[in-house]
Assembly symmetry: C2
Homo-oligomer: 214 residues x 2
């Protein structure tokens, strides 16, 4: 990625000085202040995580209680049955609170980790949609604990490269325009064939198109 | 994202016909056949996941066994102590195998899910590095169960937009070149000032630069 990536990385705010003011003003919309950027998507992710945690907790419970249940059914000895029943009751009392504590911790961690991927992914997506729309001055901003940092750097490097190429193109268009003006001035005094006049007008027309409506 | 995104989505292989052959040949390198794309990174992720699973398992064990330990220490009644000791032994026998089963399942699922994010992220990163290097014909390919699909579509839409703009620019450069040739031909017969000749040479020089070395 080289120096362009580094530049992109260090860039703090609404892109280069090439940014149209309108875009620079719209930029703060992309600041990631909200906890839920895509509320429905993130709630769906959270629901899926909770579902899996409940599922795994129930599986763990099943793996622990089912053998006891089997032993209870297999034995006819009342003493043995009493011992198993007491064990089952004790186990329920100990097992579920412990599982609940761990489940809450795992859920919290999963949701935090997911959020650190989903948030940046959405943010980078917005930046790339900007690039596709010609807003090359948009940049992704890294937050300290976000994931996908390599991707954000790569996206910023793309923006940096596109801004650079755009500058080169504008500079070339400027030079072409200047040369065309010189040519026109030089021709001005002399009488030239109509084709030359037509070609001149045509070239001026094409050059007028050149700074694309980004 | 509009039609550009849809086009990008449907695109199967090495980009548009504008691709230089060399790039088109290099493209298959990005096919995601390998299980481990970034072996060290993915092994680190797997190690982190396993560490957390072991941690949570131990926490669960602690939450279950510590109260029994406390009860054992608090009582002086040998019958009670025998009952607790027997319960602890039984519990160890039931608890750890059950935890192991669930831990293996959770680890497998976590690693699969992570892989479906890390893989695409790396793939999209390579595509964006390509864009930054001017290889606009590169495209990300979606796999059925991959995550970050919105991001891949957005990246492809960027490529599509850049290819389109590049085409427009080449077409304009072609028209400018043609108009310049006409102008030159028109001037050819007549005698024009040196400035006009110089401007012509200058413009030809600038136009010769125009098709950028992507």
């Amino acid at each position: 990625m080289g120096s362009a990536a580094l530049q992109g990385d260090l860039e703090v705010s609404g892109g280069t000085s090439m940014a149209e003011p309108a875009v620079a003003e719209r930029w703060p919309k992309f600041r990631r202040r909200k906890v839920l950027i895509q509320p429905w998507y993130q709630l769906r992710v959270a629901a899926t995580i909770l579902l899996f945690i409940v599922g795994y907790s129930l599986l763990l419970g099943f793996l622990m209680f089912y053998p006891l249940q089997q032993e209870f059914a297999a034995t006819a000895n009342p003493d043995q049955q009493f011992w198993i029943a007491r064990q089952v009751l004790e186990l329920h009392k100990r097992f579920w609170p412990a599982v609940l504590v761990v489940a809450v911790l795992v859920a919290a961690q999963s949701i935090f980790v997911t959020h650190r991927v989903v948030g940046p992914a959405y943010h980078i997506q917005r930046v790339m949609e900007g690039f596709a729309a010609g807003k090359y001055e948009m940049r992704a901003r890294l937050r300290r604990w976000d994931r996908l940092k390599e991707l954000e750097m790569a996206a910023n490097a793309v923006g940096e490269a596109l801004v650079q190429r755009e500058m080169v193109r504008r500079e070339r268009a400027g030079r072409l325009g200047a040369a065309l003006a010189e040519l026109k001035a030089g021709i001005g005094g002399t009488s030239v064939p109509t084709e030359v006049q037509q070609a001149l007008v045509k070239m001026e027309g094409i050059l007028a198109e050149l700074p694309e409506p980004n």
